[in-house]
C-alpha cells in the first residue's frame, strides 16, 4: 500500500493532467499545426510519466512514455497530426484513465493483470509506419531554420534591394567534409555576405562537422543563376536546395504573435505559482467553523445587553463574520468549465458511435459554482447530454427530410441569474410529445384522465421526472427521452436546485437546472408553525401578507387569494407538516401568509406567526431523513436548538 498522502496528490494531479490532455488533444484535432498545444500536451504527458514512474506504476509509465514520444516527434516535425494520430492519442488517454481508475480501486497498487502491450505496440506500429511520417516539404522548410529576429534582419536587408538566398548542400567527399564545406562558405563569401550557416563557420573551420549537410543563408547582389553556376563549380558537393527567399517567406507576423503569446504564458505560469493547493475537506472544515461563528454571533446578538461597548462591538463582529463568510464562499468557487471540459470528448465519441452529426457549443465556462455542487452535477449533466444525442438529435437523413440543418446542435450554457446559477442543456432535435407523455402517465396510473385535462403542458412534461414514469423502458420510443430522469431530478434537488423542461415538438428541447449560488449560508425568514420554529429561504419568498378570512376565495373547491389580479393557491403549513385536521378558516383572527415562489409559480403558505429574518447555516438532515417531505434541511438557531428548513420547491411544485 502506498502512502496515502502521496496517492491523493497523485490522483489530484493526474486528474489535472488528464484534463489538459483531453482539452489539448481536442484542440489539436481542429488546429493540427498549433505548436503551443502540441507543447502543452507533450508537457502533460511528460509530467504524467514522471509521476507514474515516481509512484512505480510501470504500465502507466510505459504508456505515457509512448505517448510522450509520439508527441515529441510531432514537435520535431517528424509526424503530422492526422485523424489517426488523434484517435490514437484519445485511446491512449482512455487507457490512462482506465489505469488510474484501476489504481484507485486497487488502493494504490497497479493491478498486475492489466496488459497494455497490445496498445503500446499499436503506438509503435503507428509511429514507425512510413505513411504517417511527415514528408519533408521544401516550401515550408525554407525559412524554418531562421528565428523571428533573423527573419526581421533579413527582411530589412531585402528592403535595401539585397537578395537573400538559402542554400543547402550535401558533401559527397567523406574524407574531407569540413574542407568541402569550408569551400562552399568561402565561395559564398566571395559573392556576398554569409548571414547564417548550420553548422556555423567556426564549427566548420575547427572540423567539428557532424553529418554531411550544410545549410546556409546569405545575402548577395548577384542574381540567382550566376550564384548557382559558381557553386556548382565546387567539386564533390550536391546542391539539395537553392532558392531566393521572397519577402513573404520572411514575414514574421505569425511568429511574432506566437512569441507574444508565449510571453503571456510565461506571465501566467508565474502568477499561478502564487496559488496554493488545498484539500477540499479543509475548506469544508473552515466553512463549518465560519458557520459556528455565525451561529454564536446570532446568539450573542439575541442577548440584548444594555451596554455601549456591546452595541459597538456587535456591528463590528457582524461585518467581520460577513466578510469571512464571503471569502470562504469565494475560495470554494470553481469555474464550471472544469466540469464542462469532459463533455466535448463525450459528445464526439457518442455522436461518432451513433452516426449523428452534432455541433456542440459550450458557453459560460467561466461561471463559478461551489466546488461541492460541481462535483455532484457532473452525472446529471452527462445524462442530459447523452439523452440529447441519443433521443433528441435525429439522424442526418431525418433532419434533411424535416427541412432542418443536417448538423444537429446541442448547447450547454451556464450563466448567473440573480442569486442563482443556471445551467442549460438545449438541443434542436425531435422534441418531446406532451400528448404522448400524458397518455403514458394515465396508463401508468400516475394521473387520472380528468386531472390530465386540467393540466398545462409544462406540468405534463414534468411527468418524465416521475420515478414511475422514467423507469418504464418503452418510454424511450414514445417520448424521445431516455430513462433515469428521476435520478437527474433527485440529484438536482439534493443540491437544493430545481430542473425545468421546455420542449417544442419537432423543434427541440431544453432543460434548465437552477442552483443556489452557495449551499451553506443563506438569508431566511423564520416563522412559527404549531409552536415550532421553521426557516424559509428568503430567495423563495416573494412577499408576506396578513389577510383575514374574507380575503379567501374558492376556485374549484380550493382556497385561493387574489393578489394584484393573480390567483394564488393557499396551503396551510400546519396541514402539510402532518396535522391533517388543521383548519385555519374557522379561526377568526388574521392569518399570516408567506407567498412562496419557485420558478414562475406562486403559492401562499399560511403560518401561525411571522418571526424575524436572519442568516442561517444550512445543515443537511443526513441521508436517513433526506427524503422527508416538505423539509429540505435544518439549521441551528440562537438558543442551540434545531429549526427545520421548509422545502419550498416541494410545496410549490
Amino acid at each position: 500500500m502506498q502512502d496515502n498522502n502521496y496517492l491523493d496528490l497523485f490522483f489530484d494531479e493526474t486528474k489535472e493532467y488528464i484534463e489538459i490532455l483531453n482539452n489539448g488533444i481536442l484542440t489539436l484535432e481542429n488546429n493540427p499545426d498549433d505548436k503551443e498545444t502540441v507543447d502543452a500536451v507533450f508537457r502533460a504527458a511528460h509530467s504524467l510519466k514522471g509521476m507514474a514512474a515516481t509512484m512505480g506504476f510501470e504500465n502507466l509509465t510505459e504508456l505515457t512514455h509512448k505517448m510522450e514520444n509520439m508527441l515529441d516527434r510531432v514537435r520535431d516535425g517528424e509526424l503530422s497530426v492526422t485523424t489517426g494520430f488523434i484517435d490514437l492519442l484519445l485511446q491512449g488517454l482512455d487507457n490512462i484513465q482506465f489505469l488510474v481508475e484501476k489504481i484507485r480501486e486497487n488502493e494504490g497498487e497497479e493491478p498486475a493483470d492489466i496488459d497494455m502491450e497490445g496498445f503500446i505496440e499499436e503506438i509503435s506500429n503507428f509511429t514507425s509506419d512510413q505513411k504517417n511520417i511527415r514528408k519533408e516539404d521544401n516550401s515550408e522548410s525554407v525559412s524554418a531554420g531562421l528565428t523571428a529576429e533573423e527573419k526581421r534582419d533579413l527582411l530589412k536587408k531585402k528592403k535595401e534591394k539585397e537578395r537573400v538566398y538559402h542554400l543547402s548542400v550535401e558533401v559527397d567527399d567523406a574524407d574531407f567534409i569540413s574542407v568541402r564545406a569550408f569551400m562552399v562558405i568561402k565561395k559564398v563569401e566571395e559573392m556576398g555576405t554569409l548571414f547564417k550557416s548550420d553548422p556555423s563557420r567556426d564549427e566548420i573551420e575547427n572540423s567539428q562537422f557532424e553529418g554531411n549537410k550544410l545549410d546556409i543563408y546569405f545575402l548577395s547582389w548577384l542574381p540567382s543563376d550566376e550564384i548557382k553556376v559558381e557553386i556548382k563549380d565546387i567539386s564533390n558537393i550536391k546542391i539539395l536546395n537553392f532558392n531566393e527567399l521572397e519577402s513573404s517567406e520572411l514575414e514574421s507576423d505569425q511568429e511574432e504573435k506566437k512569441e507574444s503569446l508565449h510571453a503571456e504564458h510565461k506571465v501566467n505560469s508565474f502568477q499561478s505559482s502564487s496559488t496554493v493547493r488545498v484539500d477540499i475537506s479543509k475548506l469544508d472544515t473552515l466553512m463549518n467553523m465560519v458557520g459556528e461563528l455565525l451561529i454564536n454571533k446570532t446568539r450573542l446578538q439575541s442577548l440584548d445587553i444594555e451596554s455601549g461597548k456591546f452595541k459597538e462591538i456587535i456591528p463590528q463582529l457582524d461585518r467581520v463574520t460577513m466578510e469571512l463568510h464571503h471569502i470562504v464562499m469565494q475560495i470554494r468557487m470553481v469555474p464550471v468549465g472544469v466540469m464542462f471540459s469532459r463533455f466535448p470528448r463525450m459528445i464526439r465519441d457518442l455522436s461518432q458511435k451513433m452516426g449523428k452529426e452534432i455541433n456542440f457549443i459550450m458557453e459560460g465556462q467561466e461561471t463559478e459554482l461551489d466546488r461541492s455542487i460541481i462535483d455532484e452535477l457532473s452525472d446529471p449533466l452527462t445524462h442530459l447530454l447523452r439523452n440529447a444525442i441519443d433521443h433528441g438529435i435525429e439522424t442526418s437523413e431525418e433532419r434533411k427530410q424535416k427541412g432542418k440543418a443536417e448538423e444537429g446542435k446541442i448547447e450547454l450554457k451556464a450563466y448567473q441569474k440573480g442569486s442563482e446559477i443556471m445551467i442549460e442543456v438545449k438541443d434542436d432535435g425531435a422534441g418531446i410529445d406532451a400528448d404522448k407523455i400524458g397518455e403514458k402517465a394515465v396508463e401508468r396510473g400516475i394521473v387520472s384522465e380528468e386531472e390530465l385535462e386540467q393540466m398545462e403542458k409544462r406540468d405534463i412534461l414534468d411527468f418524465i421526472f416521475h420515478p414511475g414514469f422514467s423507469t418504464a423502458e418503452e418510454v424511450t420510443d414514445v417520448s424521445g427521452r431516455g430513462v433515469g430522469m428521476d435520478i437527474v431530478r433527485n440529484v438536482v434537488k439534493k443540491l437544493d436546485g430545481q430542473i425545468s423542461i421546455d420542449s417544442q415538438l419537432g423543434k427541440g428541447s431544453s432543460f434548465v437546472i437552477s442552483l443556489p449560488l452557495t449551499l451553506a449560508i443563506t438569508q431566511a425568514l423564520m416563522v412559527n408553525i404549531t409552536d415550532d420554529i421553521f426557516a424559509i429561504p428568503l430567495n423563495s419568498v416573494s412577499e408576506t401578507l396578513i389577510i383575514s378570512e374574507e380575503n379567501i376565495k374558492k376556485v374549484r373547491g380550493k382556497d385561493v387569494i387574489v393578489l394584484r389580479d393573480n390567483t394564488i393557491p393557499l396551503v396551510s403549513a400546519d396541514k402539510i407538516l402532518g396535522n391533517e385536521n388543521s383548519s385555519y378558516v374557522s379561526d377568526s383572527r388574521d392569518l399570516s401568509v408567506v407567498i412562496l415562489k419557485s420558478g414562475d409559480r406562486r403559492i401562499g403558505l399560511i403560518v401561525d406567526e411571522l418571526l424575524n429574518q436572519q442568516e442561517i447555516v444550512i445543515k443537511s438532515l443526513g441521508s436517513y431523513l433526506q427524503d422527508t417531505e416538505y423539509i429540505s434541511g435544518a439549521t441551528i438557531i440562537g438558543d442551540g436548538d434545531v429549526a427545520l428548513i421548509i422545502d419550498v420547491r416541494d410545496i410549490v411544485a
Binding site: E292, D532, I576, L621, S623, L625, T628, E629, I636, G640
Partner: protein, 156 residues
C-alpha cells in the same frame, strides 16, 4: 457523556464487547464497534412527515443527528410507570456511514460476551421480529440479552 473510545479496540479471542441497555423491561445489546458516544437526552426537534419511529433531530455539536425511538421501531408498548426521564440516554451509532441516535430508557453498561454463548434468536410468538436480531445471549437465569442487528434495525 461517556467516552467509548477507551473501551474500543479490545476484542479478545472468542469474545466481543457489547453496549447493554433497556427498552421497557427488555435488555438489549449492540456491538460496541457501532457506537460513538452516549449522551443525556438533548432537546429533540420533531421532524414532521418523517417515519413514525423517528423522534426528531438533535444538535450534536453542530451536526444534525436524527434520533430513533426504539419503542416505536419495535412496536413495544411503553409502560409509563417504568420510564424515568433522568435515566434516559441517546446512544449515537454509526452504521453504513450514517450517524444516528438511539433513544433508550436506561444504559446498563458495557459487557464482554463469549461468542459461543450467543445463540440464534428463538421464534417467539408476538415477540420482536427475528429479522432485527443477530441472536440472544443468556447472561443469567432470568434475563435474556437480545442482540440487535443494527443495520436491519435502522434500514430495514
Amino acid at each position: 457523556m461517556v467516552s467509548l473510545t477507551e473501551a474500543k479496540n479490545t476484542k479478545k479471542q472468542g469474545q466481543m464487547q457489547y453496549v447493554v441497555f433497556n427498552i421497557g423491561q427488555e435488555e438489549y445489546g449492540i456491538e460496541i464497534d457501532y457506537t460513538r458516544e452516549i449522551i443525556k437526552s438533548a432537546q429533540i426537534t420533531n421532524v414532521p412527515n418523517a417515519e413514525k419511529h423517528v423522534l426528531g433531530v438533535i444538535n450534536l455539536r453542530g451536526i444534525i443527528v436524527p434520533v430513533i425511538d426504539l419503542h416505536k421501531r419495535f412496536e413495544i408498548k411503553t409502560d409509563e410507570s417504568l420510564f424515568d426521564e433522568s435515566e434516559s440516554r441517546i446512544i449515537t451509532v454509526e452504521v453504513n456511514d450514517v450517524l444516528l441516535g438511539l433513544q433508550v430508557d436506561r444504559i446498563e453498561g458495557i459487557v464482554w460476551l463469549d461468542l459461543d454463548k450467543i445463540t440464534p434468536a428463538p421464534d417467539v410468538e408476538g415477540g420482536l421480529k427475528q429479522d432485527y436480531l443477530t441472536g440472544v445471549c443468556a447472561r443469567s437465569e432470568e434475563q435474556l440479552l437480545i442482540l440487535l442487528d443494527l443495520e436491519k434495525t435502522i434500514f430495514a
